[in-house]
Each structure stands twice: as C-alpha cells, then as structure tokens.
Symmetry: D2
Subunit: 145 residues, 4 copies
C-alpha cells in the first residue's frame, strides 16, 4: 500500500459554478495543496525549495472527475509520489469525501526541476530526492501521516 499525505479542505463558494458544483479547474489547486503538504511532511516546505533556488514546474496534468463536490463539502486529498527521476517527479492524487470511502476524483501531475535563476532543467538536489524517496518508503521524517 502506497504511502500518502492527507490534506483536508472545504469547497469555497467562489469555487462553485452555475452548475452548483465545484468547477473542475479548482481541483488543480487542490492537487497543489496536496503536494505542498506532502513536501512539508517529507521535511522540506515548497517555499524552502524555491528559496534554495529551485522551481518545480508543472509539465503535465491528468485529472478524472467521477462525482462532483458541492459548496461547503469537505474534500480529503490523498497525495502520493508516483515516480522519482533525476530531473522530474510525478505526484498522484485521490480526492475523497469526508467518509474517505468514495473517490470523487483522481489525477497525476508531472513536474520538472528548474534552476530558478536560469530557468533551465537541472538535476534535483540530492537531499530533496532523498527526502521524497524516504517519504515514499516509510512516510517521511515524521511518524505520522
């Protein structure tokens, strides 16, 4: 069973559309919250990663929408690491309601490591790759999730 980091949020009013459901573009922001929380749990806030001079840019997004979320619904984001390469990384996401039994959506995002000065692809810093591998293996530096 894959290790994941869990984030919980509520659907904001501004995130609904005239269908009366959360607009699908917001799921990408929720995935982003998921991987931000995973980074933090793995020992490095994404803010610290950028301060070290790296950017983790999005190169691909896939998202499948199974069951809508309504305004004020709780959204449980479970984020895991799919693949770690020297210059890229893939995150996976599953969105549940608060029962954690019904998958409302799932997706993946692919990312490339850039040097924030040159904006050119670089090898991921070794300490980050190690932290992500440790997270995937045994759930991060902390005991939780």
């Amino acid at each position: 069973m894959e290790r994941f980091c869990e984030s919980v949020l509520r659907v904001r009013y501004v995130e609904t559309d005239q269908m009366g459901i959360a607009h699908h573009a917001n799921y990408l922001s929720w995935y982003e919250i998921g991987r931000t929380d995973l980074c933090r749990e793995a020992g490095f806030s994404y803010r610290a990663i950028e301060e070290k001079g790296y950017l983790l840019v999005v190169t691909q997004v896939n998202s499948r929408y199974r069951k809508p979320f309504l305004y004020d619904d709780q959204v449980v984001v479970q984020t895991s690491i799919g693949q770690i390469a020297s210059r890229s990384i893939l995150f996976r996401y599953r969105l549940f309601d608060s029962s954690r039994k019904v998958v409302h959506a799932d997706g993946e995002t692919s990312h490339l490591w850039l040097d924030s000065g040159t904006r050119r692809p670089v090898t991921a810093p070794a300490e980050l790759t190690a932290a992500f591998e440790r997270f995937r293996r045994d759930g991060g530096d902390s005991e939780s999730p």
Copy 2:
C-alpha cells in the same frame, strides 16, 4: 487537416503566479473559452445549450505544458472536436503565441451530456450532435473558421 475554432485572449495579471508565469490551472479556463467559442461557431451558444436543459460536464482533463505564457502575452486557443459519441464528446486544444507557430500547451477534455433536471447521463440532443459533426466536417454553419 482538422477544423478548429480560434479564440484569442491575453494573460491577466491575476493569472500569474510567483514564478512569473501564468499558473497552470488557468489553462483549463482558457480551454473552456475555446469550447464555448466553438459551440457558438457551430451554431449553439453553450448558454443556449444549458437553457435547453442540458449540461455538458467535464469527466476528464489532460493538459501538457511546453512553454510558459507571461503576463500580457496573447494566447491563441485553437479548439477542435476529437470524438462525438451518443452521450459524450471530446474536445482538443492547442495554445499558441500570437505567431501561431509555437505550441505552448495542448490538451483534451472529455465531457458527458447530462439532463440538467435529473443530473443523469442522456443522449446528446440530435441537433447539437448534428451541429458538432457539421463543424468538424466543414467548419460550422458560418463561412469562417
């Protein structure tokens, strides 16, 4: 060569993020503008489609990011129809800069037809399917692409 509908927009300041580029979630809104314009060009505004009692919900999004857009850049969205089934439809998108030579991103969205009252899948209304097929074949009711 596939027929497409072209939309032109500019990157808004609010759409940028602290990397100094347009945030990837906004591309989904731009794709949405593309298919809205395609519907209009095919003879039915999406607003009219909803007023007839149908919803065209998103079931899947794939998006590939090749080259970032910057604030105030012109974005040229070329939208085409990938597949038309009785209950679903797939749109394809390519995003260019104003030269129309460099692809910055491309993607697809899959959609399901729902009855807006019951929120259950339905067969697409025949006149809409016919309009979309006509668009794909010869570029819509109008002369222009």
Copy 3:
C-alpha cells in the same frame, strides 16, 4: 470589544501573482470564508441558509491592503458583524498573520437578503437575525471562541 469568529488558512500558490505576493482579489474569497465560518458558529451554515430559500448577495465591498501576504503564510481572518438591518447585514474583517498582532488588511462587505426563487429583496428570516444578534452579543450558540 467586538465578538469575532476566527478562521485560519494558508496562502495557496495559485493565489500568488508575479509580484510574489497574494493577489488582492483573493482577499474577497478569504472574507467569504470568514463570514461562512461566522454563520456556522452562529448556528446556521450558509449552505443551510440557501437551502431554506434565501440568498445573501454582496452589494458592496471595501478592502484596505496594508501589508502583503506571501505564499504559504498563515492568514488569520477575524470576522464580526457590523450592522444588522431587516433586509441587509454588514460584516467586518481583519486579516492578521499568525502572531495575531499585525493587521495585514481589513475590510467590510454589505449584503442584501434575497428570496432565491424570485431574486427579490426580502426581510431576513427572524431566526437568522436572532442568531446573528445573539452572536454579536455573546459569541453565538457555542461557548467558543
């Protein structure tokens, strides 16, 4: 000293702009989270209010920006009720950092009660007005905060 409801959130990456700060339009969504939480604390979720057949539309927003928020900053929203009239209500907001000592922004929003069927102004339901007055007087049905 005015009673308030407190909400805590983090600045999302998608909420930053190329100045490297949270874009000012997002503060309106944060104010919205504040008044949603206040409604819940006063005993009626805003979702339940709409289900009863009422809409609380925004008629005016004022917002003053004193100190920017950065990506991943904690934002503490303190929301209070400014004025309760038969057909309208005014909420006040103050945004702090996690120390709760430095005001980053403050604002007010004015709202009108509508019947969700007719979309016409109506007198606020008595039970809601009573709940808001109770909140303002003694902090809601619950003991906290």
Copy 4:
C-alpha cells in the same frame, strides 16, 4: 465629461458561482483589465512599467454591485483616472452591459508606486505621471477612443 478607456470582455463559466451569477471577486480582475488597457492607451503597457523597475500595488478597493452579470454576458469596463499624486494614483471603473446604458457595478482602486527592488514607496516616474495626466486631459497619445 471624464475621459475613459473602454475594455470589453465576456463572463467566463469559471467566473460564475452557484447563485448563477458572476462571483463578486472577479470584478476586481475586470477592474485590473480596465486599468491595464488604460495604461496601454496612455502609452505605457503595465508590463513595461514593471520592466522599468516599478510596481503599482493596490492599497484599497471599493466596489459596489448593482445588477448581476450572467455567464456569457458582455461586460463593458470604462476606466478613468481619479486622482494623480506623486506617490499614488486612483482609478475609477464603471461596468456596463453591452447597451452601455445600465451600470451593473462601479468601483475605485487606490495604488501606491513602489520600487520593485526595494519594495519601498517611490515618486512615480515623471514620464508616467505625464502620460496619465495627458490621458486624463485629452484621452491619451492616440486619437481613440
């Protein structure tokens, strides 16, 4: 009669909320489009202003909502300059439907000039102040609108 710059846009689906109208936070993005277009019409794109090393940060927003906009409605933004001081500037906005007769909303935004390096308030560059004063007096460098 005050000189204004006119921008025309359409309400995007993602901008609607479950009330079936454009969410009020989006008006701030539309005001931003208005002042961006005004800058361009006055002879300096806002992008060029930032490239010269200046930031024009928002210090206050007031917005009054009179009549909602619906999905796919045309929004006509008329932007004018309210006040020009050495370190600050105020823009005014009126939002019309396509008839240009019915005001749906109006507002003001106050801004402070910052040095983008130090992030400290500075005197506005003389050429920009001159361009804005010329715009206010006789409608910008160009003959239009």
